[in-house]
C-alpha cells in the first residue's frame, strides 16, 4: 500500500470514527439528566441478597451468574497464558541480584499489611465498597512485589496445589450454586437465611483464586517460577 492511499484511508477512517463518536455523544447528551436506573429495584430487595452493599449484592446475588462466568474467564485466561507462554517467560533467577537491605525491609514491613488489607477488603465487601476482586488484586500485588524483589523468595508450591488455587474459586462457586438448587430449584438462588455466609464462602474462595490467577498472569502462567526454570534447564541440557 503506497503511503498516499494509506493516508487517504486513514483520513476516511478517522472521519468515520468522528461520526460514530459524534452520534453516541449526541445520544449521551439527549439522555434524561436525572435517572435512578435499577437502584430502586436493588434497594427494595437488598435484604434478601445477604449483602448490604448494593454492588456486592448485584455481583454475587442478583447477577451471580455473571460473576461465576467471570471467574471462569479468569481461569481460562490463566490457562491460555500458561500454555502460550510455556516456559519461555521465565526469568533466569541465577542472574537476579538479592534484594538490598532497604528493599527487604520494605517487603517485610509491607507484606503482612497487604495480607491484612486483603482480608479487611474481603470482609468489608458485605456492607461497603470492597469484595473478592479488590481483595484478590491486593493479595496478587504481594506476589508481584515478591516476584519483582527476588523470585527466589516465593515458596515453592507443588504443581497440584497451584492448579487447585487457580481453580478453587470456580469450583466452590459452582458447588455452592448447584447445592442451593437442592433447596430452591434455581441456580445460585441462595436460601434466605444462609445467603450471607454462603456469599462469604464464595468470596473467600474467589479471593484466593483471583489472587492466584492475577499473579500467574503476571508471572507468565506459573506462580512457582522455579519449577519452570528447572524444567527449562533440563530441556536445554538434553539433546
Amino acid at each position: 500500500m503506497s503511503s498516499v492511499t494509506g493516508r487517504v484511508v486513514r483520513r476516511c477512517f478517522a472521519l468515520m470514527v468522528l461520526m460514530l463518536v459524534g452520534g453516541i455523544g449526541w445520544t449521551i447528551l439527549s439522555l434524561p439528566t436525572e435517572w435512578n436506573g435499577l437502584s430502586d429495584h436493588v434497594a427494595a430487595r437488598l435484604d434478601e441478597s445477604g449483602a448490604r452493599n448494593p454492588v456486592t449484592a448485584v455481583l454475587l446475588s442478583f447477577r451471580g451468574y455473571d460473576t461465576l462466568l467471570e471467574i471462569g474467564v479468569l481461569l481460562l485466561a490463566a490457562l491460555a497464558v500458561r500454555s502460550v507462554a510455556a516456559d519461555r517467560n521465565q526469568t533466569d533467577t541465577s542472574i537476579v541480584e538479592p534484594p538490598g537491605l532497604v528493599l527487604m525491609g520494605l517487603l517485610r514491613l509491607v507484606a503482612p499489611l497487604i495480607v491484612l488489607v486483603a482480608g479487611y477488603l474481603l470482609w468489608v465487601g458485605g456492607h461497603a465498597p470492597g469484595g473478592a476482586f479488590q481483595a484478590g488484586a491486593v493479595l496478587a500485588s504481594l506476589v508481584v512485589l515478591v516476584l519483582l524483589c527476588d523470585p527466589r523468595l516465593l515458596p515453592r508450591i507443588p504443581n497440584w496445589l497451584e492448579r487447585l488455587l487457580l481453580s478453587l474459586g470456580l469450583f466452590v462457586f459452582i458447588g455452592v450454586g448447584l447445592s442451593v438448587m437442592a433447596f430452591h430449584g434455581a441456580l445460585l438462588q441462595y436460601p434466605p437465611g444462609q445467603a450471607k455466609w454462603l456469599i462469604l464462602v464464595v468470596e473467600a474462595a474467589c479471593t484466593l483464586s483471583i489472587a492466584a490467577v492475577l499473579a500467574a498472569l503476571f508471572a507468565g502462567g506459573r506462580i512457582a517460577s522455579l519449577d519452570g526454570l528447572e524444567s527449562r534447564t533440563q530441556k536445554e541440557e538434553g539433546p
Binding site: A14, V17, I24, I28, R63
Partner: protein, 105 residues
C-alpha cells in the same frame, strides 16, 4: 451539561481515540494498548451514566458490570500480551516492531 455527561463524553473520546488507534497502528503492542484505552472509555461511560442523579446513590448494576469488565479486560490483556510475546519470539514471524516508522504520527 451535568458532571455525569461530561465524564461520559470524556469516556466516549477515549473510546474514539482507542478505536482509531487499534485499526490504524500496525504494532501489536500498540493495538493491545489501544484496546485497553477503548475499554477504559466504555467503563467510564457506564460508570458516569449510572450516577446521573446527583444526590441519590449510583445505580449498582452498571457498577457491578464495570467491575466484572475490568477483571475480564485485565485477563484478556494478559492473554494478548503473552500471544504478542510468543509471536515476537517465533522464528520467521513478522515483527512489525521493526517497521515502527510506518505507523502514522
Amino acid at each position: 451539561m451535568t458532571a455525569a455527561s461530561l465524564y461520559a463524553l470524556c469516556g466516549l473520546a477515549l473510546f474514539g481515540v482507542g478505536f482509531y488507534a487499534v485499526v490504524v497502528h500496525v504494532h501489536r503492542l500498540r493495538k493491545v494498548l489501544a484496546v485497553n484505552v477503548m475499554g477504559s472509555g466504555v467503563f467510564l461511560v457506564l460508570v458516569a451514566l449510572a450516577y446521573r442523579t446527583p444526590n441519590a446513590p449510583p445505580d449498582p448494576v452498571p457498577h457491578a458490570m464495570v467491575l466484572t469488565g475490568i477483571v475480564v479486560a485485565v485477563s484478556a490483556t494478559a492473554v494478548a500480551l503473552s500471544l504478542v510475546r510468543r509471536i515476537h519470539g517465533e522464528p520467521g514471524g513478522v515483527n512489525p516492531s521493526e517497521n515502527v516508522k510506518e505507523t502514522p504520527r
